[in-house]
Amino acid sequence: MPLAKPVLSVRDLTVAFGGTGKPVPVVRGISFDVFANEVFCIVGESGSGKSVTSLAVSGLLPETADVSGSIVIGDTEIVGASAAVLRHVRSQDLGFIFQDPATTLNPVLRVGRQIVEGEVTHGRLRPSEAQVRAAELLREVDIADPVSRAQQYPHQFSGGMRQRAVIAMAMAGKPRLIIADEPTTALDVTVQAQVLSLLQRRQAETAAAVILITHDLGVVAEIAHRVAVMYAGRIVETGTVDEIFSSPRHPYTRALLRSIPRGDAVHARLDAIPGQPPTPETLPAGCPFHPRCVIGKERGECRTTEPLLRPIGADQQAACHFAEEKLLPAEARRTDFSGPAGEKAGDSLLEVDALKVHFPVRAGILKRVVGWVRAVDGVSLTVRVGETVSLVGESGCGKTTTARTIMGLVPATGGDVRFEGRSLLKLSSSRMREARRQMQYVFQDPYAALNPVLPVEEVVAEPLRLHGLYETAGGAARIAELFEMVGLSRRMFGRYPSEFSGGQRQRIGIARALALNPRLLILDEPVSALDVSIQAQVLNLLQDLQKELKLAYLFISHNLSVVQHMSDRVAVMYLGRIVEQAARDEIYRTPTHPYTQSLLSAAPVPDPTLGRTRRRIILEGEIPNPAAPPAGCTFHPRCFRSDEHCRRVAPSVVSYPGASIYVACHHPSDPMIPSIVREQSMEAGE
């Protein structure tokens, strides 16, 4: 491969954004080649310059960007090229897939037209043939009924279909290079699996070179041939996917790999990278990673000299002064951690019993209720003192609604919620206020959860003040204590939320939730908006707090690895119902419900060797509209085991004697027989 001429060759690419002040470099001299028939992944945390690099390659950066270096696609130099040349390159050699399929298509033009527009413009396609060609392209990306779909508008497509259409569009001209910038970040795991496999297939069919940008190491392991790891505008390490995952040489790569929760180390404490990634404006001198680095922190060289990328192995390069240094074995550095375990569970704290939450759908002249969105349709759960119960499921399955209903923020339609044995649903508002003190909520989006006009001290004090307990609880001293508890300094009191990073804000959110000394925290996707390194910090914090304060968690997430890492028990939700519920290890080792099995197999595993060997179940379609759920078992249209019976009759919950599993399926695989799918992964992991 290295002998062939690269499709793309980037040399010393530097991009700075000027604006009014002095230009700030966000990409700082990077070089790489991409060859035909390979998938080249760029990974890195948010803000590391991945998107800017990809935009620079296609000449799509805004005019405020100052680009230098060289980018050659085929034989054409992109840097400084004229508009005509750029247009030509884009039409001939380049295809682009962007992150958010909801916005990459023009909402007012028909999908078919958009797909072939480029080809028609460049005279490769006669307008009279456009329709046929559009349908053909849609068929190639597995869209059913492509002829009529081509005539539809983007809003009539589901998210996954849109991304397929974008792939069809990007590949329409058979470009030599395809750039996909986080093509699946906005999608659910099951849909992500569909799209990734499609992308892989089309790439193989067209022999194109693909640059795939992602921050998800699982995706990298799944799909990449070669990998570049970016940090603070630089490539800090590059190599084949196996090298990167098996013998990472840069401390950042290593730390990154260790900070993701993995099924093979559920009892170990996560290895978080301390601190924050630097912003382009606040780049430290020397190696930009040294303030967070375990080996470079103390060394003078790292503080003064920025290391250059240099070859380490055959194909591997790393930018570290001490890349050859053997590290301590990873395990040794992990402080032992007794993760959650079923045994310690005590009395039941929260009981959710057949909870139903239906939202009215209104239509017609008088806005009458014409139907109901069955957001939550019979959920039963128990959380015991000090344990973590997780709720997983695809987007829209009703996780947030369940949590908010438990908190009393959304009125329940039916069922019951009991806290310490007392029903919460029929409480008067003052009693409800009282009850809420025991139960607190941590929100998903750390940017939206804090009142931006209050100083953080007030944000944390607010629950106390609302309950008139501020003085009783100890006033400012209590706030300082809470700050300390979540690892923040009281020196930060006067600052506003906007002055904090996402991870810090999430800590503030947690501190606020702890202010009233609750017994139960409801954590709604507490880490999904955070970068992996920060995510690990927060997860560790949560585990520490749980131990220290004997907290019970209702932990909501769609990230199966995180759930596996955190939970005692796991409930899998689909379309408003819990389809399977079991102790953590049981569910991961022997998933019973076909949906659980699909979910687990769809989740990318950050291990390329395993990725290549395991068999994946790729679910068809996407989660149905909860306003019109399918009859019978709601999962049947996507299920690989469904039959006539499933189509008609909704399954009831079955429990297995001797196991903690509850499952709602007519055809569960026997929990006593370990699932083949998962077993493989476990082996590979060990």
Binding site: S58, L60, A83, L86, R87, H88, V89, R90, S91, Q92, L94, G95, F96, F98, D100, T103, T104, L105, N106, P107, V108, L109, Q114, E117, G118, T121, H122, Y153, H155, V166, M169, A363, G364, I365, L366
Partner: protein, 315 residues
């Protein structure tokens, strides 16, 4: 869609009821009555009483309102006290003049507004944009009555090119005379509205230009004119339609000041005269008609919008 239109029409009912009741309440709160103007200043008490009875103004206010409402429901807006002609007739006679001015003003506004918006949105922050923004601020900030006065000063008093006051001449009868008479008020109104439109369109263009689909379009190697003309403009013009409709609707009763400057016989002036003579049925009629037209224009705009925007399906 039909259901949607029906629902919107149903919405008309409370708005009109509320509006007419409010107008009636206001009318009764306003001191003065139509009779005093009518009978003249030498009238005796008996004459006043006779006239008051003749127009039914001696009945309780609620009875009068109920009576008016009942008749209005049957399409009868009553008879003007001052002109002793059916209110509807008076209004219908003014409407063509009003529509003609609104139409021309809208054309002026579009002709001035759209190019300005596109030119300044193409390069936000450039000197072209800054100059056009300044022009835009001027069009918005210069009060129509002052602009009208300046135009009259220059074109009528100074240059003697155009009449200083406008009359209604139907366009189809004598287009030249009609345009001569209308051009100053149409420009006065149109310039102001062009500012509103340009500002709106510029904002929505700039907003659209940042959209992902524009980057997608560029990444396909399209010509810049395709990107702007097909992709951006289409999206930006959608909400623009609503604003244009709103503006037109506003012209119907709201061009009062311009009508006053150019003494143009539009609906707004009719209403002002009606207010000053306390011609109750005429006031009520004008306001109801203005409201109905406003709502109907808005409804048409929304329906049209739904028609051109594939994302919207009114049910």
């Amino acid at each position: 869609m039909i259901g949607y239109v029906l629902r919107r029409l149903l919405h008309l009912i409370p708005v009109l009821l509320l509006g007419s009741a409010a107008v009636w309440a206001i009318i009764y709160a306003v001191p003065g009555d139509p009779v005093s103007v009518l009978v003249g200043e030498n009238a005796t008490a008996e004459q006043i009483a006779a006239a008051t009875a003749k127009y039914g103004l001696d009945r309780p206010a609620l009875v009068q309102y109920a009576d008016w409402l009942w008749r209005a429901l049957h399409g009868d807006l009553g008879t003007s006290i001052h002109a002793s002609e059916p209110v509807l007739k008076l209004i219908l006679e003014r409407l063509p003049a009003t529509f003609q001015l609104a139409f021309l003003a809208t054309i002026v506004a579009l002709v001035l507004g759209i190019p300005v918006a596109i030119a300044s949105a193409l390069k936000p922050g450039s000197w072209v944009d800054r100059i056009l923004s300044l022009w835009n601020a001027l069009t918005l900030g210069v009060p129509t009555f002052w602009l009208g006065i300046l135009l009259i000063l220059w074109f009528s008093v100074e240059m003697r090119w155009l009449p200083s006051a406008s009359t209604y001449i139907p366009l189809w009868e004598d287009p030249v005379a009609a345009l001569r008479s209308l051009i100053l008020p149409a420009v006065t109104l149109g310039v102001y509205v062009s500012g509103v439109l340009a500002r709106f369109l510029r904002a929505s263009l700039v907003n659209e230009m940042r959209s992902d689909y524009v980057r997608t379009a560029r990444s396909k190697g399209l010509w810049e004119w395709q990107v702007v003309g097909v992709h951006i403009l289409r999206n930006a013009l959608l909400p623009f339609v609503t604003i244009v409709g709103l503006m037109m609707a506003n012209f119907i009763g709201g061009a009062v000041v311009t009508e006053a400057v150019f003494t143009y016989p539009g609906l707004g002036r009719l209403l002002i005269q009606a207010i000053s003579t306390r011609d109750y049925p005429l006031i009520q009629g004008c306001i109801i008609v203005i409201m109905v037209i406003y709502i109907l224009i808005n409804l048409s705009v929304d329906v049209f919008y739904a028609y051109i925007d594939p994302r919207i399906e009114y049910k």
